[in-house]
């Protein structure tokens, strides 16, 4: 009973927030709705017992991808009037895509009615579960059988990070020094250092 209520709650929020992603006028709000949608999808994954995917959704999609989206959207200066201008012209293409999606939906429901897919290993038997939870099984494989590959993949990411820093971070010592604010120097400065009292003769200029 509780499971059913939770499922319908999560599913409703996923669909409603997904609708709001495309309906809201403000793209920043769209991204925030998207994050809500991801969170509830993660809830659905927990309900079906795939807690590892749920954590991935939260950490990778909410934590990294959606925040990145948010930054990009906030930095871009989007002109919404021009975006809406082509609506009538592009409407036929949109209708065609909508029809294709509708056909896919009908076929998908039909295939689902015909019976679920059975996942298994090539010889037809289902793979045995080593541990209670997915996370334990995945962890046991990653840190024993695939330890070498897992650690090497980590080094690949490290090299990518070093590369990004080496290629984009260039020190400009001269410019850096100019921009540097030395507050002590500013405070020590006296009026006599900066101003000069001059009384030039009439008709003569002054040497600065």
């Amino acid at each position: 009973m509780l499971l059913t209520i939770a499922f319908y709650l999560f599913a409703t929020v996923v669909i409603a927030s997904a609708v709001m992603v495309i309906m809201s006028r403000n793209p920043v709000h769209s991204v925030l709705w998207l994050i809500l949608s991801f969170f509830n999808a993660a809830g659905l994954m927990v309900l079906v017992g795939a807690e590892f995917i749920a954590m991935l959704l939260v950490i990778v999609y909410v934590g990294a991808v959606a925040v990145l989206f948010l930054f990009v959207v906030m930095m871009l200066d989007i002109d919404f009037a021009s975006m809406r201008a082509g609506f009538v012209r592009n409407a036929p293409l949109g209708i065609i895509i909508a029809l294709i999606l509708l056909a896919e939906l009908v076929l998908g429901i039909g295939a689902y009615r015909a019976g679920a897919l059975v996942l298994g290993t090539p010889d037809g038997t289902a793979a045995p579960l080593m541990f209670e939870s997915n996370i334990e099984s995945i962890g046991a494989l990653l840190y024993s059988r695939y330890l070498f590959l897992f650690e090497s993949a980590g080094i690949i990411l490290l090299v990518a990070m070093i590369g990004a820093i080496v290629l984009t971070h260039r020190e400009r010592p001269a410019a850096h020094r100019r921009a540097h604010q030395d507050i002590g120097k500013q405070v020590r400065r006296k009026p006599e250092d900066a101003t000069v009292n001059a009384s030039p003769a009439i008709g003569k200029g002054i040497d600065l």
């Binding site: 090539p122 024993s144 059988r145 695939y146 330890l147 070498f148 590959l149 650690e151 090497s152 993949a153 080094i155 690949i156 490290l158 090299v159 990518a160 070093i162 590369g163 820093i165 080496v166 290629l167 260039r170």
Partner: protein, 487 residues
């Protein structure tokens, strides 16, 4: 699972990755002033790694004792031979880099760290016993190489080289992954030994497509025709020490990897890949030779020369015998020496203002200004051409011998005929240096480190190198046999 044993087998990789991380921390704290000490430490680490792979190389380690992590990693004699070449070329690239980058005001302490990680990736490539290991090693070395190619700040050509290498490398990775997914789909495994067993009886069309895509992706990495287009631009644009690296370590690794994949995973379906390899070999020899003729940049010329040499190496692979694999290893060893020697010689050519000379026009009459460098560069060119008194001839000889003994007489004859075309442009460089009016461009003195490397390489390439034929052949034979001990 015996983890202690596994860790002993991956000891060189462990050493390089841990010291890479430590050196990275040093560069992060001390900054670019640590560039020289970090380079020296990195070279020392690679030197120690050489000694670590030494025993496996000398005894020609083979069999199940050399495979770690359920066959994903192989520390056999073949891998040890290739790793030795990779580590030596890594040391050479660390030695020649600091003077070059310091002169351009662009030395960063990250250079030796990236070289270490690239060497680590190439080492994983040659040790791979599984498609996933293959891909991870390839990506590790390629990612470091993309960064190294665009290492010169403010240089448009360096950035172009990096970008070109990155885009074409990503395309090659895509092709390779597509092939790997097909092979996995049609054989049900990513392990080389199991793929071999699954392909033993028949080769389905899907698996054949996978095999072709895998070989095409690897051909990109070894710059074999028709996947060679990126080589001249990248070699020309990248800083010269980095070009030296590209022409040596990743090339050795990619060739060794291609040999292992062809003879191990696809070993029982040799007929399926032999025609591809034969085509790539002949096309590389001819196109490498013809393309080099019009070049006036020495680095571009050497890029075409490397395409040409890959063609000869592939002739050894086409034989598909232990002798062919051994010939490939001997050729690779001699090729690495010739490549490092040529690039070091080019690095020693500077004009009055201290900038580096790369044009063939500018080295006219070099024999009068710099007789020793001119003589050694001429020796390298004659050796690359495969003219008999030099050691380069021996590499070509063993490769053609293996092809003839595998009944590929026509291939060997065509290869020998095409190598005559290649001799033209090597001889042209020699002619420009010795018989043209001096251009008087090259001046200045060179660093001691460069001289040490250059003279060492020159002695190996000179006729004295023939003293090495017996030990080199013996080691290569032992290493090659470790590929053929499978069911």
């Amino acid at each position: 699972m015996d983890f202690g044993n596994y860790l002993a087998l991956i000891a060189p990789e462990l050493l390089i990755s841990i010291s890479g991380l430590v050196l990275l921390l040093i560069t992060a704290w001390v900054g670019d002033s640590a560039a020289r000490p970090v380079s020296i430490l990195a070279a020392l680490v690679l030197g120690v790694a050489c000694f670590m792979v030494g025993p496996a190389l000398l005894e020609g380690a083979a069999g199940p004792d050399t495979s770690a992590f359920a066959g994903q990693f192989r520390a056999d004699g073949f891998a040890a031979f290739a790793k030795m070449l990779i580590y030596v070329s890594g040391i050479a690239c660390l030695m020649i880099a600091p003077p070059f980058f310091e002169r351009l005001g662009a030395m960063r302490a990250e250079y030796p760290v990236l070289i270490l990680f690239a060497v680590l990736g190439t080492g994983i490539m040659v040790s791979s016993g599984n498609l996933i290991t293959l891909y991870i090693g390839l990506e590790l070395s390629s990612l470091a190489a993309y960064v190294l190619a665009s290492f010169l700040p403010g240089s448009g050509r360096s950035a172009e080289a990096g970008l070109k290498y990155f885009i074409l490398g990503a395309l090659a990775s895509g092709i390779l992954l597509y092939g790997m997914s097909l092979v996995y789909g049609f054989t049900g495994t990513t392990d080389f030994t199991l793929i071999r067993a699954a392909m033993a009886l028949e080769l389905s069309t899907g698996a054949l497509f996978g095999l072709i895509f895998v070989l095409a992706g690897l051909a990109f990495k070894i710059a074999a025709v028709p996947f060679h287009m990126w080589t001249p631009d990248v070699y020309e644009g990248a800083p010269t020490p980095v070009t030296t690296f590209f022409a040596s370590a990743p090339k050795v690794a990619a060739v060794a990897l291609t040999v292992r994949v062809s003879l191990d995973a696809f070993g029982l379906q040799a007929d399926a890949w032999r025609q591809i390899v034969i085509f790539a070999a002949l096309a590389s020899i001819v196109l490498g030779a013809l393309g080099a003729i019009g070049q006036d940049n020495l680095k571009r010329l050497l890029a075409y020369s490397s395409i040409n040499n890959v063609g000869f190496i592939l002739i050894g692979l086409a034989a598909g015998t232990p002798q062919g694999a051994s010939a490939v290893l001997v050729y690779l060893a001699i090729y690495v020496v010739m490549t490092i020697g040529s690039f070091v010689a080019i690095l020693m050519l500077r004009d009055a203002e201290g900038s580096y000379v790369e044009n063939i026009r500018d080295i006219a009459g070099l024999s009068r200004a710099k007789p020793v460098i001119a003589l050694i560069l001429a020796g390298m060119m004659l050796s690359l051409a495969g003219l008999p008194p030099m050691f380069g001839f021996w590499g070509k000889f063993v490769v053609f011998q293996a092809a003839v003994q595998a009944d590929l007489i026509l291939l060997a004859a065509l290869g020998i005929a095409a190598s005559v075309i290649g001799a033209f442009y090597y001889l042209k460089v020699v002619k420009v240096m010795f018989f043209d009016e001096p251009a008087g461009v090259v001046q200045g003195r060179s660093e001691t480190g460069h001289w040490v490397l250059l003279i060492a390489m020159a002695i190996i390439v000179s006729p004295l190198g023939y003293l090495l034929t017996i030990p080199l052949g013996l080691l290569a034979d032992r290493a090659a046999v470790s590929l053929f001990l499978l069911p």
